[in-house]
Symmetry: C2
Amino acid sequence: MNQPCHQHAIPRRLVQQPLSELTDRLRARSRKVTGQREAILDVLRRHANPLTNREIHAALRGSGCDLATIYRTMHTLLGMGVVRRCDFGDGVARFELATGDAHHHHLVCRACGMVVEVDDCFPAALEEAIARRHGFVGIAHRLEFFGVCPRCQDPEPGPPKAP
Amino acid sequence: MNQPCHQHAIPRRLVQQPLSELTDRLRARSRKVTGQREAILDVLRRHANPLTNREIHAALRGSGCDLATIYRTMHTLLGMGVVRRCDFGDGVARFELATGDAHHHHLVCRACGMVVEVDDCFPAALEEAIARRHGFVGIAHRLEFFGVCPRCQDPEPGPPKAP
DNA sequence: GGGTTGCTTGCAAATCAATTGCAGTTGGGG
DNA sequence: CCCCAACTGCAATTGATTTGCAAGCAACCC
Ligand SMILES: [Mn+2]
Ligand SMILES: [Mn+2]
Ligand SMILES: [Zn+2]
Ligand SMILES: [Zn+2]
């Protein structure tokens, strides 16, 4: 898991959310729409994959926004449900715009770090059975898949790839 | 997630592994069986839940074993497949003895941190379908459940519980 | 049993992600 | 245009985990 994000491809599910819609959600809670926040939200909008705060900071190279501000902003957006945090087990938090209601999971390449969105989810019936069996309420889950992507499988030449 | 481990109950699935069997696996790889490693393995053997390095260190209060040594030992044991690491999303790694072949998952109480072992797993057929769909190989998953345990649900009196 | 050697350990310093105190800015409701 | 709570940059701090290094010790060989 090295190179952060290859595919600057067209964000599959996120591109639709207009920036104005996001900023409105800020105003609605008496949060201020600052240039930094707009810039951060815009970076998230144009990326398909979850980004680390450091990656967001790098993407904002020009508009010098402090790393601490990004950390604080992500915390705020997380609390508002605007972004979602995911954890790929490398000790660094990643964020992506929350897509309406439903959550989703990821398939991460162990070699190059490429991320694929996965819509399949843990069977709801089974999850409820587990909760009931142990008397838990308000149950939720955290699920990520790991493997080796097609490009990292065959050691043939081609575009530079991670070790 | 505050109080580390309530239930010092009988380790359900781990207690069977004799310490000698574990130390033998060390010798087999030209690793040395030191007093510290035996002590660490013994702590893991007698706990049913995943423990943080700090918790292991606390459990070893008497036999003063350095925290750095515990970190290094867990890294070694992880590489040997003797222990497994799990991540409850609070930025602290937890370890438990690996149980032979099959992995398992956990149900964690958001209030008190109590951990329940969960044997249900993500449907293998679906996982394979996901891997095939995206051309990934060597696929695996990381899955944990979160909720509120029975004791933390009703605000009635009784034994002290987390806020 | 004593000696050799490479794996280990304790201790302290270094990394790294993430958080926080503080003083100076600024968005935006009035 | 004014005012003030919400923000921000910057530097210091916290907490987990890692690492350099010299001393220690288990495993192995005579
Ligand atoms: Mn995603
Ligand atoms: Mn377990
Ligand atoms: Zn799901
Ligand atoms: Zn599983």
